[in-house]
């Protein structure tokens, strides 16, 4: 597999202004809305013992990273429907290489998204958090984005072009709401919070908070996210083999 190709594929997706704006607009608006409400007054969230603005920034960065990673679904569906992947099949790039390029691009887009959101938050609200804690929080979210990249790839493999949009929305909304990335989970009945503990987006948010705290139980989120990664990775491989066998 060509490293040059992986780099170029990621770079081309990063340079696609329209999709980057689409990815970043919603989280940035959320940041400005929530950040404006809770402001830089330094209120501390009782549950996490982190400043409110930090909790909000992490939540929004998780949302942005997740959205950037999941958006590979559209990328793949579009490429399948216009036949770009047929063109790629006349190159040494293998089917696995193609999927890896999408994973790398998903992580590049997610990283960009996380960095922009954190940078905007720091610039506007000067939250009371050390650089080291920000780095750990960002790194935590970035690693936690891996299962979402895989989920995006799987949706891209499975969805017919006409169903890609609704399927993406269902997956995305479900993940955002259940993970507490949109509205704090405290606003829902208790059983929703229990269900939330099974979805990766909840732990994506949590892993960011743990990074910011630089302490706490990192084992549970790691296990849940790794389990999702393995399960989704398995499904992608299964689907890919089936497609290849049909040829």
């Amino acid at each position: 597999m060509s490293i040059a190709y992986l780099g170029r594929e990621s770079l081309r997706q990063l340079k696609n202004m329209r999709s980057m704006i689409f990815t970043l607009a919603v989280p940035l608006v959320m940041l400005l809305a929530f950040g404006g409400t809770f402001g830089g007054a330094g209120q501390v969230d009782a549950a996490t013992r982190l400043p409110w603005i930090v909790v909000t920034t992490i939540q929004v960065a998780a949302y942005g990273g997740m959205m950037a990673a999941l958006s590979q679904a559209f990328q793949i569906v579009t490429e399948r429907s216009i036949g770009w992947n047929r063109q790629l099949r006349i190159t040494p790039l293998s089917g696995t290489g193609y999927l890896v390029s999408k994973l790398v691009a998903a992580l590049a887009l997610a990283l960009f998204s996380i960095l922009v959101i954190v940078a905007v938050s720091i610039a506007l609200y000067h939250p009371d958090l050390s650089m080291g804690s920000w780095m750990l929080a960002g790194l935590g979210i970035w690693c936690g984005v891996i299962p979402f990249a895989l989920l995006g790839i799987l949706v891209g493999q499975l969805a017919k072009p006409e169903f890609a949009q609704p399927l993406f929305m269902a997956v995305f909304m479900g993940m955002a709401v259940l993970g507490g990335l949109w509205v704090p989970l405290q606003l829902f009945p208790a059983w929703v919070a229990d269900v939330a503990k099974a979805v990766p987006s909840y732990w994506l948010n949590r892993v960011g908070q743990l990074g910011a705290l630089q302490s706490g139980d990192a084992i549970t989120p790691a296990i849940v996210l790794a389990a999702w990664t393995l399960a989704l990775g398995g499904l992608i491989v299964w689907r890919y083999r089936r497609d290849a066998a049909r040829g």
Binding site: S2, Y5, N16, I82, L88, R89, I90
Partner: protein, 315 residues
């Protein structure tokens, strides 16, 4: 390069298809195709829509798996030749990404290859230098085909598949395209192009493979393929009345396969126009305004595909 290696390269066919079949449910798209193409040949795959040209190309490239039979490129599985960058292709339904420029598209595909041409070189060969910085979504049909050609040649392939490369091109664009193609084939490389432009096959290929209903119905040089239907048309004007006996007399002439009359205009189709004409002039001094024409590619094409259809209906 040792002599032995050179010999092996020369004798290994660029393409070998053996008993190739592909069915999609009840539909048989490719129905027993055997085809060997030597390095350096420029071959036209000619046939109407649905003849199986595109599926045959997909099978040759290993993009589709044959129901039965076997496809080899340069003596090995297609994937091996593709991985070595020896194969380029402009495929049906193989579009470029609309958000990229032409140069970016070429660079992206080049980065997937191991020993590509420089981007500038590929653009130059495909006459794309002026449109290099244009977005794919803004290109005209002809420009898009040129951009796809640039992408197809960036690996500097030995073998090129082109599926209806000049579709959506105007006359000028077609000429330019075939010029760049000539440069490519003059360097001894192999090209297979699918087309239903008969004049293109006639003019640019040194071999024509005609397909109809998933089978090869004719295979040879343009002249040979035309000779398969071997007909020449003799037209003449007659002043004598049309009678059954007059028609029988015409049919009795050497080489005549069919005789038709519309008004005073007679059309004979002959397998041996020289013999027919000599006899005709002697036996029918009343005929005048005589003209002899070769079958055009269109007529050859119609005759062959119709023959195949009739055969199919009978069996």
């Amino acid at each position: 390069m040792t002599g032995r290696h050179a010999e092996r390269v020369n004798t290994t066919p660029a393409i070998r298809l053996t008993g190739l079949r592909k069915t999609f449910g009840a539909l048989t798209a490719v129905d027993g195709v055997d085809l060997t193409i030597r390095p350096g040949e420029v071959v036209a795959l000619l046939g109407p829509n649905g003849a199986g040209k595109s599926t045959t190309i997909d099978l040759a490239l290993g993009l589709a798996r044959p129901t039965s039979g076997d496809a080899e490129l340069f003596g090995a599985a297609p994937i091996a030749a593709i991985r070595e960058g020896r194969v380029g292709a402009m495929l049906q339904g193989g579009a470029l990404l609309p958000t990229l420029t032409v140069a970016e598209s070429v660079a992206l595909v080049a980065s997937a290859h191991r020993h590509p041409l420089s981007v500038a070189e590929a653009l130059e060969r495909a006459r794309c230098t002026e449109i290099a910085r244009q977005r794919v979504s803004k290109l005209s049909g002809g420009q898009l085909q040129r951009a796809r050609f640039a992408v197809a040649v960036v690996s500097d392939p030995d073998l090129l598949f082109l599926d209806e490369p000049t579709a959506a091109m105007d006359v000028e664009a077609r000429r330019t395209f075939w010029q760049s193609m000539r440069e490519f084939t003059d360097a001894g490389r192999t090209v297979v192009f699918a087309t239903h432009y008969l004049d293109e096959a006639d003019e640019y290929a040194d071999r024509i493979v005609m397909m109809a209903r998933g089978r090869i119905v004719a295979d040879g040089s343009p002249a040979e393929v035309k000779a398969v239907v071997s007909g020449r048309r003799i037209r003449a004007t007659s002043d004598s009345p049309a009678t059954p006996s007059a028609r029988a007399a015409l049919l009795a002439l050497p080489g005549v396969r069919s005789a038709e009359r519309h008004g005073d205009r007679i059309t004979l189709v002959s397998d041996d126009s020289d013999a027919t004409l000599r006899a005709l002039l002697t036996a029918h001094p009343d005929l005048h305004d005589i003209e002899v024409t070769a079958h055009t590619m269109d007529e050859a094409f119609l005759a062959l595909t119709e023959a195949r259809d009739t055969e199919g209906a009978l069996s």
